[in-house]
Amino acid sequence: MTGLTVGYAGMTHLGLNSAVAGAERGFDIVCFDPDVRVIEDLNRGDLPVVEPDLPELFTKNRARLTFSAEASSLAACDVVYVAPDVPTDDRGGSDLSGLTSLIDSAAGQLRADAVLVILSQVPPGFTRGHVRPALTLYYQVETLIFGRAIERALHPERTIVGCADPAEPLPESYRRFLEAFGCPALPVRYESAELCKISINCCLVASISVANTLAELCEGIGAVWSEIVPALKLDRRIGPHAYLAPGLGIAGGNLERDLSTVLRLAEQIGSDSSVPRAWIHNSRYRKDWVLRTLHETVLRVTQDPLVAVLGLAYKENTHSTKNSPSFALIESLPPCRLQVFDPVVPTDSAPHPYPIGVATAQAVCEGADVLAIMTPWPEFRDLDPGEIAKSMTGRTVVDPYAILDGASCRAAGLSYHTLGVTDA
């Protein structure tokens, strides 16, 4: 329909969601992954990731999506995005070998007039290191959010494009593709674009750290953080979309990777890194809030407790458990019985010798001495505090994300603990 064919190399979270969004915008899309099994699954319609609206848009645009394990399929494309998820280790270090391999595969197949765009997140300096003769290379900042990947891919606020020379106009094919998303394109040099992505994430971490620090103060002085947040969001200097919900530290891997990159770069050039170090410290400290609360309220006074945990994923609407607060909690519990429910993540992945799986969120409460709601899945909001109270043996509910209504829980006779509120 648009006359352009766009390729995506690397069919993990970023590549698949971006490809489906491109198809939804009316482009013919070629999806390449060297793993034959991945391509077979996609051809059958088996999606490897969980994202709202992804299955529906995948089905709707199926005719525009071609899947292939042959890199030569990219030869038909005007623009090719290289977009594998870049794995990170426990220290936030990136393994870029898979990305480099895909760049080499794709570059070897491109037409002379085609454009190669690196979409995966890379450290500053990476893109310029891959410039080679006769290759038109760009780096485009991705702003994927787990659980909102399709929404973000379809409706970006802006597109940040890293260029060899930002004064040069973008190639027509690439420009036409970007225009289909109806947002401003900001061409900057490669290094600025690469650092821009990190800068965005640092701003988010700063907001999260402010929320966590002040929410903990609220817990000690009788203030309520949720009463403060609306005032902050009405401040023009802060804004309505600021990340001000207190949480259990940063998780998921991407923000940690960026902080790790900032520390590495600061060490290299000798700039001050005390602020990101403080963010990291605060995140680690806050991650254990539930563990401390459980010890204080239940574990130190209950023999052989049955601990109920709702949620294993690191956040709602995702299957990812990377740096999941739920996993961190379970790993640190004393010997105890554990009852678990997550809508997506299987029970047996919980780091516990014999987790008890149940079929529903309500069933996890049955006989429990304490309930911890560790992932803010929307469906958990439907739980009735009265029913929870009837099912549980104990009275304690630890709900860091305030999924349940605190007043209703207390009215049901539960001892309710959440972030940013002094315990009742």
Binding site: H281, D288, L291, R292, H295, R300, S332, P334, P335
Partner: protein, 288 residues
């Protein structure tokens, strides 16, 4: 942070306690003996770590399968002379272990190694002591870490320890308890607002035993995670004794607090439960 090098906890074949006559050392010896462990208790009467032959003497005693608990110190360390003595003591231990290695070393240090404003204090807090006592302990930690090879080293950093047998009578639970038992007025600085984390001696000895049985390495703070003002401590002592009273005095110094983040201990020893302050004070008051 503490890592356990034994998959399943087991009592050390033998534990040698250096500084066995002191407040902490004697409790550790008793605790281990009650658990059925073989203990070699060494006080300054049998090995004077300031003596020239101390390293040789210690080297003839320790065996490869031993855990050595190093708690001997001239404490509190107040000046350069005492610092020198404490360094001589640690030098003797390092020299002895060079000649005769052990399986595990537990160094009893202090929370004085941390910066005064490191709240909440955790094992990753900045070690930047403001007192000779803290500097002494930090220096000993570093010297042991770099000087002792081939065995896991655990460093425990207790907060303010209280208990019936504490020979010190410094400002805090031990003095307050004794004053209340005599029916005296407990005078607190200012209104006694400063909050500190007071840890019961039985908890200290039990945690050291757990470090031994897990053959742990790394750093562990020994603190409850709950700080209490000196006035509250004094009032508890008065209540337990049934006599005495508490009186404020003109404040001479700014109010400072110290709080601990107990997460590392919760993770290292999730079954361990700290003695609540009121209970610990009661037990201290009724101890024989």
């Amino acid at each position: 942070m503490l890592d356990h090098t034994l998959a399943a906890p087991a009592l050390s074949k033998r534990t040698v306690v250096l500084g066995a006559r002191g407040f902490v050392g004697s409790h550790v010896v008793r605790r281990l003996q009650e658990s059925g462990g073989e203990v070699r208790a060494i006080g300054s009467d049998s090995i004077d770590l300031l003596a020239a032959d101390a390293a040789d003497k210690l080297a003839t005693i320790v065996r490869p399968e031993d855990t050595l608990v190093f708690v001997s110190a001239i404490a509190p360390c107040r000046d350069a002379a005492q610092m020198t003595k404490n360094m001589t003591m640690v030098a003797a231990v390092i020299e002895a272990l060079g000649k005769s290695p052990v399986a595990h070393l537990v160094n009893v240090s202090s929370d004085a190694v941390y910066a005064d404003d490191a709240n909440p204090v955790s094992e990753t807090s900045c070690a930047s002591p403001s007192s000779p006592h803290g500097a002494m302990h930090l220096a000993r930690e570093v010297l042991l870490k770099t000087g002792v090879k081939g065995c896991p080293i655990a460093v425990v950093r207790p907060s303010l320890i209280y208990g019936a047998a504490d020979p010190h009578n410094g400002y805090g639970p031990n003095r307050f308890r004794r004053q209340a038992e005599k029916g005296e007025t407990i005078k607190v600085f200012g209104e006694g607002e400063e909050q500190r984390d007071h840890v019961f001696i039985d908890d200290v000895s039990l945690l050291i035993e757990l470090v031994i049985t897990h053959r742990s390495k790394g750093v562990l703070d020994i603190a409850t995670g709950k700080s209490t003002s000196f006035r509250q401590v004094a009032e508890m002592c008065v209540e337990i004794a049934g006599k005495g009273d508490v009186q404020g005095t003109p404040r001479q110094n700014p109010i400072t607090h110290r709080h601990f983040d107990p997460t590392a201990r919760l993770k290292a020893f999730p079954d361990f439960i700290c003695t609540p302050l009121a209970e610990g004070l009661r037990r201290a008051a009724t101890a024989p």
